[in-house]
C-alpha cells in the first residue's frame, strides 16, 4: 500500500528577525519559535493569532518567501529550502493586501500571474472569465483597471489569482480582513466551495475566531511565535472547559484576543 504523506509537515521551525534601533543597536525578535505541526491532504486548518504572532511569517516560509533559521518544512514531499521550485508549483497564496498592478485590469493581472505557471494566452482566455464567475466577480468588469475596483472586488480577484493555477496547498493569510460583511460572507462561501469541489489543502491564518471555527477542521493558536495547539474546535473547548474560542485563547495565553500589549505591537514590526 502506498504511504500517505502529509500535505504540510513542519518541525521545530524557527525564524528570527533582526532590526537596528535608532542607536544602531541590533535587536532580535523570534517570529517563530520551534513550531511543529502536520496537515493532512484535503484538510483545512486555521491558525489564530494576534498581530505579530508569526502567522504571516509562517505563510511566507511555507511559500518560500522567507528562509527559516532552523527546523524544517515540507510541502507534500518537497523541502521548502532545497526544493523551492517544486514547492512553488504546489502552493498559492491570498494575503490581506490584494496586491496587483493597479493600472492593469483584473484580466491582465490574472493572465500575468497565470503565465508564471505555464498558462498561455489560449488557456487564460477561457479560464479567466470562468474563475472570475466562480468567485462572484462580474466577468464583464474584467477589463476595468484594478484601481477602480472596490476592496471586496479586489480580494475576489486575489482569490481567483490563487485558484487559477490549481494549487494543491492554498495559504490564506487573513483573506477577509478589511472586507465589508457581505464581501466577507461571499469570500467565506467561496472557500467552502473550494474545499468541497477541489482537492485543495488549506491553511487559513486569521484573527477572526468565528471564521476559523466555521471554515476549518482544526484550529491552532499561534502566540508570540509558539503554536500552543492544533486541534478540532470541540477538543479545544473541551481541553480548556470553555464555550468559545475567545475563552480558550484567554485560558491558553492569559490575555484576551483584543488585548495587544506593547510587546505584540513591537513584534508586529518584526514579523
Amino acid at each position: 500500500m502506498q504511504q500517505q504523506h502529509p500535505a504540510v509537515f513542519v518541525r521545530d521551525l524557527e525564524k528570527v528577525f533582526g532590526r537596528r534601533n535608532g542607536l544602531g543597536r541590533r535587536r532580535r525578535r523570534a517570529a517563530l519559535r520551534g513550531i511543529s505541526f502536520a496537515v493532512e491532504r484535503g484538510e483545512c486548518v486555521a491558525v489564530l493569532g494576534q498581530n505579530g504572532s508569526g502567522k504571516s511569517t509562517l505563510v511566507r516560509v511555507l511559500s518560500t518567501l522567507l528562509l527559516p533559521d532552523g527546523g524544517e518544512a515540507w510541502i507534500f514531499d518537497c523541502d521548502v529550502l532545497r526544493d523551492a521550485r517544486s514547492v512553488r508549483r504546489l502552493v498559492n497564496r491570498v494575503s490581506v493586501e490584494a496586491s496587483f498592478f493597479k493600472k492593469m485590469s483584473a484580466a491582465e493581472n490574472l493572465s500575468y500571474a497565470a503565465r508564471f505557471y505555464g498558462m498561455g494566452p489560449r488557456e487564460t482566455r477561457a479560464a479567466v472569465p470562468e474563475i472570475l464567475t466562480k468567485v462572484g466577480f462580474p466577468p464583464e468588469r474584467r477589463g476595468e483597471s484594478m484601481e477602480h475596483l472596490s476592496r471586496g472586488m479586489q480580494q475576489k480577484v486575489a482569490l481567483a489569482r490563487a485558484l487559477l493555477t490549481s494549487p494543491v496547498l492554498l495559504l490564506l493569510d487573513e483573506p477577509t480582513t478589511g472586507l465589508d460583511p457581505r464581501s466577507k460572507l461571499e469570500v467565506q462561501e467561496f472557500i467552502r466551495q473550494v474545499r468541497a469541489k477541489h482537492d485543495a489543502t488549506i491553511i487559513l491564518c486569521t484573527h477572526d475566531m468565528a471564521e476559523a471555527e466555521a471554515l476549518s477542521d482544526r484550529v491552532g493558536i499561534l502566540d508570540r511565535g509558539r503554536l500552543l495547539f492544533l486541534e478540532p474546535v470541540e477538543d479545544v473547548k473541551r481541553r480548556f472547559g470553555v464555550e468559545t474560542l475567545e475563552e480558550a485563547f484567554f485560558a491558553a495565553t492569559g490575555r484576551t484576543f483584543e488585548d495587544e500589549s506593547d510587546e505584540e505591537k513591537d513584534r508586529e514590526v518584526f514579523a
Binding site: 502536520a38 524544517e72 514531499d77 518537497c78 503554536l227
Partner: protein, 295 residues
C-alpha cells in the same frame, strides 16, 4: 522546546513528489519557462500602453536634454564638416546614454516597481526561474529602448540638421543589440540593489549607469581619460558600443570584429555573474525579510 502538534515522520521518501511528475519532461518545463518569459514581456506591454502619455512626456524630455548636448557642436565654431562630425559623435553618445538608461531603469524596476505595487512576493513565489524572469524584463527593455533610441536619434538629427549620408544603420543597430546582452547582465547586477536596500537601491542603479558611461567615453574618446580609467573602459561593454556605433554612422563601416569579440566575451560573463549576484541578494532578502512590501 518545540511546541509539537500532530507530529508525524517527515515525508522524505519517494522521489520529489507530484510537483516533479506533474511538470514532467524537460520540454514541458521549457514551455512553462517560455510562457513565463512571454508573460513578463506582455505585462510590460500592458503597462507601457497604460502610461503611454507619460512615455511621450519623457520622450520630449529626452529629446530636449539631448539637444542641450548636441548644440555644443554648433557653439564650437568648427568648419561645417567637423561640426557635423562632432554633433554626430555627441548624438551617438547621448542616444546610447538614453538607451542604457532605459535598460537600467527597467532592470532596477524589476524589484522596485513590484515592491511598490505589492506584487513582488507573488512574483518571487512563482515557479519561474530567476534567469527567465530577469531576462524577460531585459528583453522588453532592449526592444523598448531600441525604439526610443531610434526615435531620439532621428528626431535630434533632423532638428539640428545632422548629415550622415554613409551611415550603416543596420550595423549600428546590430552592435547595439549585441551590446544589450552585456547591458542586461550589468542591469541584473544593478537590479539587486533595491532588494538589499528597499529605500535607496533603485537610485543606485543610476549611479551604476553614470559610472559605466563616464569610463566608456560617452561624449569623448577614451584616450582623453587617465590611464586607470582607460583600463576600466576595457571591461565596459559601452566602450565598444559607443566606438563601433560612431564608426558605423560616421564612416558607414560594417560590424568590426574588434568591437564584436569583446562584447561577446563580456556578455558571456556578465549574465551568469549578474544572476549569481542577484541570487545572492535574493537569498539575503529572504533571510532578512526584505521582500515584504515596505511603506
Amino acid at each position: 522546546m518545540s511546541s509539537g502538534v500532530g507530529s508525524t515522520e517527515p515525508p522524505r521518501s519517494a522521489g520529489r513528489g507530484f510537483a516533479a511528475t506533474g511538470a514532467g519532461t524537460a520540454a514541458v518545463e521549457m514551455r512553462h519557462q517560455l510562457v513565463g518569459l512571454f508573460g513578463i514581456v506582455e505585462r510590460n506591454v500592458y503597462l507601457t500602453k497604460r502610461y503611454f502619455l507619460w512615455d511621450i512626456a519623457f520622450m520630449v524630455w529626452t529629446i530636449a536634454n539631448t539637444l542641450t548636448i548636441v548644440f555644443i557642436a554648433r557653439a564650437a565654431n568648427l568648419p561645417p564638416g567637423r561640426e557635423n562630425t562632432l554633433a554626430t559623435m555627441l548624438l551617438v553618445g547621448a542616444t546610447i546614454w538614453a538607451f542604457l538608461g532605459i535598460i537600467f531603469e527597467f532592470m532596477t524596476e524589476t524589484v522596485a516597481w513590484e515592491r511598490w505595487e505589492g506584487t513582488i512576493e507573488y512574483t518571487f513565489m512563482a515557479p519561474l526561474s530567476r534567469l527567465v524572469h530577469l531576462f524577460g524584463q531585459g528583453a522588453f527593455a532592449v526592444l523598448y529602448g531600441l525604439i526610443r533610441a531610434t526615435i531620439l536619434f532621428f528626431a535630434v538629427a533632423a532638428f539640428i540638421g545632422i548629415h550622415a549620408p554613409r551611415a550603416n544603420y543596420g550595423a549600428a543597430l546590430a552592435l547595439l543589440a549585441l551590446a544589450s546582452v552585456s547591458f542586461i547582465g550589468v542591469g541584473i547586477m544593478a537590479s539587486v540593489l533595491p532588494l538589499i536596500s528597499p529605500e535607496k537601491g533603485a537610485q543606485l542603479g543610476f549611479v551604476a549607469q553614470g559610472v559605466m558611461l563616464v569610463v566608456s567615453g560617452v561624449y569623448y574618446p577614451v584616450s582623453v581619460m587617465p590611464t586607470w580609467m582607460q583600463w576600466i573602459a576595457k571591461v565596459s561593454p559601452a566602450t565598444y558600443a559607443l566606438r563601433g556605433d560612431r564608426n558605423e554612422i560616421l564612416t558607414g563601416a560594417g560590424l568590426a570584429w574588434a568591437d564584436v569579440w569583446p562584447l561577446l566575451v563580456i556578455g558571456a560573463f556578465s549574465i551568469p555573474i549578474g544572476l549569481l549576484v542577484f541570487k545572492t541578494g535574493e537569498r539575503y532578502a529572504k533571510r532578512h525579510g526584505k521582500l515584504k512590501r515596505s511603506g
